[in-house]
Symmetry: C2
Subunit: 447 residues, 2 copies
Amino acid sequence: MADWQIIDGGLTAPKGFQAAGITAGLKPSGAPDLALVVSDVDAIAAGVFTTSQVRAACVDYCQARLEDKTAARAILCNAGQANACTGQQGWEDAIATANAAAKALGIDANQVLLASTGVIGQRIRLDRLLAGIPNLVAKLSADGSDAAAQAIVTTDLVTKSFALETQIDGRPVRVGGIAKGSGMIHPNMATMLAFITCDAAVSSHLWQEMVGRAANQSFNQITVDGDTSTNDALIALANGESRTPAITAAGPQADKLEAMLTAVCVHLAKCIARDGEGATCLLEVTVTGAPSDAAARKIARTVAGSSLVKSAIFGRDPNWGRIAGAAGRAGIPFDQNNLRIQLGDILLMEQGQPQPFDRLVAHDYLKQQSALSSQAMAAQIFSSTEQGNDLIADTAGSLISRQEAALEALAHPVQIAIAVGAGTGQGVAWGCDLSYDYVKINAEYTT
Amino acid sequence: MADWQIIDGGLTAPKGFQAAGITAGLKPSGAPDLALVVSDVDAIAAGVFTTSQVRAACVDYCQARLEDKTAARAILCNAGQANACTGQQGWEDAIATANAAAKALGIDANQVLLASTGVIGQRIRLDRLLAGIPNLVAKLSADGSDAAAQAIVTTDLVTKSFALETQIDGRPVRVGGIAKGSGMIHPNMATMLAFITCDAAVSSHLWQEMVGRAANQSFNQITVDGDTSTNDALIALANGESRTPAITAAGPQADKLEAMLTAVCVHLAKCIARDGEGATCLLEVTVTGAPSDAAARKIARTVAGSSLVKSAIFGRDPNWGRIAGAAGRAGIPFDQNNLRIQLGDILLMEQGQPQPFDRLVAHDYLKQQSALSSQAMAAQIFSSTEQGNDLIADTAGSLISRQEAALEALAHPVQIAIAVGAGTGQGVAWGCDLSYDYVKINAEYTT
């Protein structure tokens, strides 16, 4: 049982963090494109980065930095240009941005971590970014999470933000975060950008372990299109400003903190999957009975990432054959005569055999989950635009808060439950359906 | 240098083979749905089958049969019902069909191999299949390849057939084949149905090795949507009716036969990729400079299978960033500073850096390759329908043969050439673009 509560404030909900987001002129659209999060004091820093051989300069920079020193004060993130495949010049640009942020903040350059997102092969518009730094620093505030969340998005429809609070030794401890990502989302590392803040006091070794495990159960379990980005990064800062006793070893308090950290990561990961390019619903695949948790997670990812399954979900088609097919090719041995598949409450397959079910009821389940989730997404988009939006003006969008809408959008996943045997391994993965709009968005992105 | 020539006749081009295809009433559409190929004498049989944990009864049947006995006389294939996830009853149905075919042919049941394709979870309409067997056997002929090729397709737009002839010891030796498949196509085994005939005399051990290696360079190198089927099978029969000396060990003659076998498999594999659901072009990804051929093939497959790359190709967008991104996540280590990417003749990236290129020229290259290939596909469809087709009546379709059109459709691939370093490993993979129609076809398939 989770003994924490949802709180407002996102990235700046934990004590001792400020954030800001501004328009520096990096995106052609003129939307906000430069974000900064700063801890008042040195924070323990941990990161999980893309496993791709083709990495952005900021990823190499952060990895080198974190190997060298596990504390940091700030994360600077630009959207618009990925600074990937930009060679030595990209590396120098990265250093220049870190130096500029450090100077404006009055800290050492090696206390600044970096992230970028946008078009691969494009250098950051350095002059604009550098010119924007003073304004960005001036805007830093303890209410700045939303502005930062807005400044890191690209093709995202909605911003992603979340925070939880629990008690440790009778004092509040918080974990907050923001994330972005809607295409090029696939397991194999952090698979998008996510920045996590925490005001617990925790040892750096333990924090890195917690962050790694949390990533494996959240960001590494979402898939939109099977593509891993050059820039994927999860960076998590823990600054100790909750003034709770330092957590330096495994135990109930470490478990409590890790569980809350994982819950924040899972929420943000699900937000990303739900906002998958062209998606009309959130897909949640649960696998049980596998030889190990890792095996279960792999089967779940494979099903959630299957183009055939995703197309069927978009077509509101309870096509259990494709689910069985995807589970079978995940590379995890199991006896097909033990396979059990359930869609929502509807049993589709048992002991490897299709079961009679009401196809119309299953179709309606798929339709309804998508409709409820889409309505909440529309409300979220509505509540985040000042002008509103004609397309969703007739929904109840304005009656609920953005936070409520965000939770509501995740509250109606299409649930596929798969059992593969008598093992104890279990795992969950999240994805979305594959729609015409995915193709449209990705056929027309750069040119 | 290939010292063989393209010949007519497909599956029945090699000596001593007959084939037939009929409508048994298995497909709701009323299209042909039952195929048979028979060797006049015992043939050495080799197979490569799906690696999925969820396998159709026919796959289990063939694997068991081939472990037991490496000779066979016939392959019976039905389309319409996959006979996968049909449990014990499906297994019994498979045996019943083998028995019926054997009886009508006057051979032993264990000389019959089986294949099925169609909707997963559906039993074969056994009464109709059994009722069709006498007619099917009566139709067997040395001209029956096209009829068989027609009877095994499902969502395919065109049939796939090919044959080559070479000389061994001054006598002609032939390899022919037919294939089907257009969705659920992805490396990891044979990934579709393909039946190969050969009139060389070859030892069973050598033949199985040759077929396995040929599959790895052809059918295992194509990807349409990343999904592996429950029914994928490549079955190859060699009956010795060329009366050439038996090939029983490695050497120039074995090499010659294997090269020709591989060429037939590659041709059929490319036909499948080109006919990928919703595809408008054939994508050919060549990788060089990798640590090994297997590593190169893996990178090539990953790029050819990337949804982002495929969407970009459909959008006629020379998005080298996505190509680099996909190459980077293939799981093969390389130094990104050695990465070189070429699209057709256009250099997009060198030493990991984007190169200046004329975006319009690149766009036109993509558009032109697709247009030329699509025109040939249309001609092929036109020439295979008696009534013609309004949509393509104004092309030059009727002026070329179906074989010429099939070759022409493959003659204009979108070529992506990637070099990753100084290694000697090289490999090729084939795929297609990702279009709105892929989603449409797969969102609406069963319900």
